[in-house]
């Protein structure tokens, strides 16, 4: 597939397995689910005393069966690097599948430690590859050291660094910490969220009801209503606790998590689009959030436990610095933005004042949002396709929307509610910018010198 990669250049490595206690840890993950199921369904209450040992035995049996299945699937899971330097995975109990992961297309490597695995000092490695993979790849569990070594090896191979003789570990690239978000900031930003606000209101209502009725039990029905928003307020704190960004030749390394811990690595040039959000609740602090699109499986991009966040909360200067790191040359703050026409207020009454769009030789920037003023930026070289759409109401007003399609992720860059004539010119210009940017695209294996220009087929 890769033109710059003659077959057989690499020495294949022997097949490797994950850590033997993988099955044990994975089976352990069903225990809380089982307990939750048993208790919430009132099975414990429904059974009489004599039946309870039977219930316990049933639970143990489920766990044992689950463990047996996990054990067999562990014995069937192997991974190695083939002669082309690509990653191969085999797995499956009944239906054996073999996957080949083209490392020149590697977008990011994450090392995640769910709580239970973390207790045992284990971690899983998740390489994200652009393309047709629907489900994300997970190699786990490995000991934390093995996971870091595998991550380094994946990145080194993806970068095109030859590791010499087989078995020699790729050195872990040195790093330089750029910033860490103080715990107080993570905490305060989590508490200044819509979910926390809802939780606060519900708690106030509970207190009022308890005082007025003089009966604390009267608040029990309301208590249910506080659980979801409270969880929503606490979740970002648990997820982004100890958020640290470090720079290394591998790319940016992001570390975060209180209960479960993650290390995400985004190699250079793999960020497809960035977003800066400035929620109105954070305005007095001047904090913003930075989110990115990284090409990968749709699963990974939709997953809540797998956020693509560069900065959970921090000053705008830091945000701009990070944007410069991941998309060099893309300046959001100084881009002149042209507002949408005034008649856009009939179509977007809340956010029409914020709708504005600008473009320079490097990137396209758009501003939108009402309670959360948002800036989206996408470099011309990363735009997949350009769309212009117009609904019936927009047609009455002479408006259309220009979409610059990015890879799946939280950011969907679009210039909303532009005048129809302008949208037509804009789409045409964006396509032309994209064409020029593609002609000047850097190599896929970023540590290699660019191949000599022959024929122009650089894939």
């Amino acid at each position: 597939m890769t033109a710059d990669q003659p077959a057989g250049e690499f020495v294949p490595t022997p097949a490797r397995r994950t850590n033997p206690i993988t099955a044990f840890v994975k089976a352990g993950q069903v225990v809380p689910v089982l307990l939750f199921f048993v208790f919430t369904n009132g099975i414990v209450n429904a059974t009489s005393g004599a039946q309870r040992p039977l219930l316990g035995a049933g639970g143990v049996a489920v766990v044992v069966v689950f463990m047996a299945v996990q054990y067999v699937s562990w014995t069937r899971f192997t991974f190695w690097f083939d002669a082309d330097g690509d990653l191969r995975l085999t797995s499956g109990i009944l239906q054996v599948s073999q996957r080949r992961v083209q490392l020149s297309r590697l977008q990011s490597v994450d090392v995640t430690q769910p709580l239970l695995a973390r207790i045992f000092g284990l971690a899983e490695v998740r390489p994200e590859v652009a393309g047709a993979e629907r489900r994300s790849l997970v190699i786990g569990y490995l000991t934390l050291d093995d996971a870091h070594a595998l991550r380094a090896e994946l990145l080194a191979r993806a970068a095109g660094v030859r590791t010499g003789e087989p078995g020699a570990a790729a050195p872990i690239a040195p790093e330089n910490v750029l910033l860490s978000v103080p715990t107080a900031v993570v905490l305060e930003s989590s508490l200044l969220s819509p979910a926390a606000l809802v939780a606060f209101v519900v708690i106030v209502v509970m207190v009022v009801v308890a005082v007025v009725s003089g009966n604390p039990l009267a608040t029990v029905p309301i208590f249910v209503a506080v659980v979801a928003p409270l969880a929503g307020a606490v979740a970002p704190f648990l997820t982004f606790f100890g958020f640290t960004v470090a720079d290394s030749p591998d790319g940016l390394r992001l570390r975060f998590g209180l209960t479960s811990h993650q290390l995400q690595t985004v190699p250079p040039g793999r960020v497809q689009a960035v977003r800066i959000e400035a929620p109105v609740l954070w305005r007095h602090r001047g904090w913003v959030r930075v989110v990115v699109n990284v090409a990968g499986s749709p699963d990974a991009n939709e997953a809540k436990d797998h956020p693509r966040v560069l900065l959970p909360a921090g000053p705008i200067d830091v945000a701009h610095m990070l944007v410069q790191r991941v998309l060099p040359g893309v300046v959001i703050e100084s881009m002149p933005l042209i507002p949408a026409p005034r008649r856009a207020r009939w179509r977007a009454p809340l956010q029409w004042r914020r709708l504005a769009t600008g473009s320079d030789a490097r990137a396209f920037v758009t501003r939108h949002g009402w309670l959360v003023p948002t800036w989206d930026a996408v470099p011309h070289a990363r735009v997949q396709s350009v769309r212009v759409s117009q609904g019936p109401w927009q047609r009455r007003l002479g408006l259309s929307t220009v979409h610059l399609d990015s890879t799946p992720g939280p950011i969907k860059p679009m210039a909303a509610q532009r005048s129809a004539d302008e949208a037509r010119v804009m789409a045409q210009e964006q396509v032309e910018w994209g064409r020029r940017a593609r002609l000047a695209a850097p190599p896929q294996r970023w540590m290699r010198p660019p191949p000599p220009a022959v024929g122009g087929d650089a894939s």
Binding site: Q272, D360, S385, S419, E422, V431, E432, R435, R438
Partner: protein, 189 residues
């Protein structure tokens, strides 16, 4: 700064707004408005195929509806249902005709343009260098009418460039042509 409507420095010469091969207006039937443009229209066989599908649905709805209302309220209610279904069918087949006439595509040097929609109009521009794969599919009804659907996929899930209702051999030719162009101009993500 090329003229009105530009949101920043211009990337260089782009065709003047309105000039062929750009549609005179997004969605305003670019073919009827300007028959001289090289846009490729969609075969009316697609409209026939879609109408057949609509007829099949209408028959099913009518059968159930008439059965139920006749049993519950008498045959005169069954007749009312029949009229309603026929009116609905007429409207749907009129919409299908307009929809198919609103579809078209245009192959340019570096990209493919696809237009569609009457109520919700859409123009998709897919650079050949961004295509990841090109699908040709044909359902049972399509095969009866000898037509097929060509779908372009990029790394973005939202690109959504579909050309329906191409004669089967033209679809295969377009797919091969697009695949060849895509390989030539392929760019990394």
């Amino acid at each position: 700064m090329s003229g009105a409507g530009s949101i920043g420095p211009s990337p260089g010469p782009v065709p003047a707004p309105g000039a062929a091969p750009w549609p005179t207006s997004i969605g305003r039937d670019p073919f009827a408005a300007d028959p001289g443009t090289p846009w490729v229209r969609i075969s009316p066989r697609l409209a026939t195929a879609r109408r057949m599908g609509a007829v099949a649905t209408a028959v099913l709805v009518a059968a159930v509806g008439i059965g139920v209302t006749t049993a519950a309220g008498g045959p005169e209610w069954g007749f009312v249902v029949l009229l309603v279904v026929l009116a609905g069918l007429g409207w749907v087949s009129w919409v299908i005709g307009r929809q198919v006439r609103a579809m078209g595509f245009l192959e340019r040097d570096d990209d493919l343009l696809v237009v569609s929609g009457i109520m919700f109009r859409k123009l998709v521009i897919v650079p050949y260098g961004r295509m990841q794969l090109v699908d040709v599919t044909a359902g049972p009804l399509d095969r009866r009418f000898g037509i097929a659907k060509v779908q372009l996929h990029t790394a973005a899930a939202t690109s959504d460039a579909v050309i329906a209702g191409l004669p089967a051999e033209q679809a295969a030719r377009l797919r091969d042509h697009l695949a060849a162009l895509g390989e030539q101009r392929s760019a990394g993500l």
